[in-house]
């Protein structure tokens, strides 16, 4: 059975190996590059401490977009595994009728599927795990200076979480192929379903894996200027991208709208007033007069956040959740292939 799995899967294994070599070569190069840049920044910092903030800002901006792009790229690997390895695994056999050949050898369907799942899932986990480990290594100096690895996007492209994604995507593709019985529709459904999951999970499930810490942040002008942006397309009095002062590197998973001292939400009209026609004070900072205007209203926000120390707990829990889901799908597939096929 292992020979057959290898015989049917050797081209994919070869393609994956070549892809991994290319990815590895690039990430090693990138890792060296980032380390050189990091050394340069540290040297500049040591020789002229006044230059430190601008040197740091430059080091960040030089690599930020590349690492965001790579984080998105790493997310593609599980999708490719699910659509190109998982979906055709059974669907292709059903489509070409070869299931009637192979399922009449002296191997039960269940064992046939179990060996194939184990072999290909291991290959997928190895490929994704290696790529993730290399990216984690390459980005380490950057992650250490920015404390950014817990953020929504980077988290899924570091350490062990991508392995869980790959195994789940593969199990999902296999089961979808078993149910739909046609390769191309199974590939499409798998891709779409997994992408939806990858948007839903970080937003709807991940924040609740461990009950978040709560804090109330007074919205001083300084605090407002530390945010990334304000407002929303629906005109709500909201602010995004705040850091929690006492907990550096924390992942802020939820920020309430601006609240007034009596706990009510700031009205959209008052917010717009500060946003569009604040009193001119000549204040600088990211949001300038708007920040001063809002600060005068004596506002605060309630935030939910996960301290940096929980990073590994979250990596473990998220990976376990994906592996558990993959296990359930696999159990369903093994049951289904015994009783309800062709």
């Amino acid at each position: 059975m292992i020979w057959l799995t290898w015989r049917q899967f050797r081209v994919q294994t070869l393609v994956a190996a070549i892809a991994l070599v290319l990815i590895a070569a690039y990430l090693v190069y990138l890792g060296m590059d980032i380390r050189d840049a990091h050394d340069a920044y540290r040297a500049r910092c040591a020789s002229r401490p006044a230059d430190c903030p601008s040197a740091l800002a430059q080091f960040r901006s030089d690599h930020e977009s590349t690492l965001l792009f790579l984080a998105a790229g790493l997310q593609l690997i599980p999708i490719v595994i699910g659509t190109f390895w998982g979906a055709p695994l059974i669907a292709r056999e059903l489509e070409t009728g070869t299931h009637r050949l192979v399922w009449n050898q002296s191997v039960t369907r269940r064992r046939w599927l179990a060996v194939k799942l184990a072999f290909v899932a291991l290959a997928g986990a190895a490929l994704t795990g290696a790529a993730s480990a290399l990216l984690t290594w390459a980005a380490r100096p950057f992650d250490e200076t920015t404390g950014d690895r817990f953020s929504r996007i980077m988290f899924g492209a570091r350490d062990i979480a991508p392995v869980g994604y790959a195994v789940l995507a593969f199990a999902l593709g296999t089961v979808v192929g078993l149910l739909l019985r046609r390769t191309l529709p199974a590939m499409a459904v798998t891709g779409v379903a997994f992408i939806v999951l990858q948007f839903a999970f970080p937003n709807m499930v991940r924040p609740h894996l461990i009950a978040p810490e709560k804090a109330t942040l007074p919205m001083t002008a300084q605090a407002i200027n530390g945010a990334q942006n304000m407002g929303s397309i629906t005109g709500g009095a909201v602010i995004h991208g705040l850091a929690v002062p006492g907990s550096p590197g924390a992942w802020v998973s939820g920020i309430s709208p601006f609240r007034t001292a009596d706990g009510r939400t700031l009205s959209g009209a008052r917010f717009d007033e500060c946003l569009n026609s604040p009193q001119r004070t000549g204040a600088d900072g990211k949001f300038g007069d708007t920040a001063v205007c809002l600060a005068r209203l004596n506002l605060h926000v309630d935030v939910a956040y996960q301290p940096k120390s929980r990073y590994w707990a979250f990596q473990g829990l998220e990976t376990a959740a994906y592996l558990l889901l993959a296990g359930l799908l696999t159990a369903f597939g093994l049951w289904r292939i015994r009783h309800r096929v062709s």
């Binding site: 059975m1 020979w3 057959l4 015989r7 049917q8 070409t96 009728g97 070869t98 299931h99 009637r100 050949l101 192979v102 399922w103 009449n104 050898q105 002296s106 191997v107 039960t108 369907r109 064992r111 009783h339 309800r340 096929v341 062709s342």
Partner: protein, 296 residues
């Protein structure tokens, strides 16, 4: 029943299979004794493939039971090893070479007879290094037959194996099939809508039509139990005692009928022997007539 007797090759009780609203098999009762080459005959869509897929465990019945060689179909690895199946259109892996297929057979079947497989591949003139995707229909059928037979099963099941082949390839394939059956000492079930093939190869018949078994028995017994009856017009409306009219047709002053019964009828009836093909046609015509539809 003495214990020494081998269990029936196929034993069905109330076997029913529905696909949604369509009934493929309806309450089939069947017992096929061991040591035969069984022909499963019927028009397209009669439920032949359904019955054979049930027999090798690819599908499960909606209700009723089917036992193959005394146990549930595809009950486990050891039972899978005892049943060889050659599916319709003889599927093989297009990207595998002929040798890869034999290697697959060797890896997946503990009872694999590699010498038998290689000898047969050589006899069929197949190049072991050729990709199966490039084989002709006849060569592909020979390959599929070899894979099914080289695991040395006790029962070989063929689902319309020769339907897509030209007459020459079909003859070669059927001869090969019989040689395998003889060499393995196996029973075989062969479905076909080609009556000539069945008549050439089989010694036991099951006529499946309109989701039901219309006739089952050894070819010899079937031939002995049926005859053609020629009678004056209208006389068949009240057939003699012990005679069942399967099918009849009026031509001129006489009616001709295919009848079943041991009794030799008195004058004015005139009995003649009847060919197997005509018997089978009579049953299939009757079945499609009474239900109004013989095909899906």
């Amino acid at each position: 029943m003495p214990n020494k007797q081998p269990p029936p090759v196929l034993q069905a009780e109330g076997l029913t299979k529905r696909y949604g609203r369509r009934t493929a098999l309806s309450g089939v009762d069947l017992s096929v004794p061991a040591g035969r080459v069984i022909g499963l005959v019927g028009p397209n869509g009669a439920g032949k493939s359904t019955l054979l897929h049930l027999a090798c465990g690819l599908i499960e019945p909606t209700s009723g039971t089917l036992r193959v060689l005394g146990s549930a179909p595809a009950a486990g690895p050891s039972h899978l090893a005892r049943v060889g199946f050659v599916a319709q259109d003889t599927p093989v892996y297009g990207s595998f070479t002929v040798a890869d297929h034999l290697r697959m057979g060797a890896k997946l079947n503990p009872g694999w007879d590699g010498a038998l497989a290689e000898r047969r591949i050589a006899q069929a003139g197949l190049n072991p290094d050729q990709r199966a995707g490039g084989l002709s229909g006849g060569q592909r059928a020979q390959l599929a037959l070899t894979i099914a037979a080289a695991k040395r099963p006790d029962l070989l099941i063929f689902d319309e194996p020769a339907a897509a082949l030209d007459p020459l390839a079909r003859t070669g394939f059927l001869r090969n099939l019989l040689e395998f059956v003889a060499e393995l000492g196996a029973a075989a079930v062969l479905s076909s809508h080609l009556l000539g093939d069945i008549e050439r190869v089989c010694d036991h018949l099951v006529v499946l039509c309109a989701s039901r078994v219309q006739l089952a028995g050894d070819v010899r017994d079937v031939l002995a139990a049926h005859r053609r009856l020629v009678a004056p017009r209208g006389a068949l409306a009240r057939p003699p005692a012990g005679i069942e009219v399967i099918w009849s047709e009026g031509a001129g002053e006489h009616d001709t009928a295919v009848v079943r019964g041991d009794a030799v009828p008195p004058a004015p009836f005139k009995a003649e022997p009847v060919s197997l093909e005509d018997i089978l046609l009579a049953y299939m015509t009757r079945a499609s007539g009474t239900t109004g539809e013989g095909t899906r």
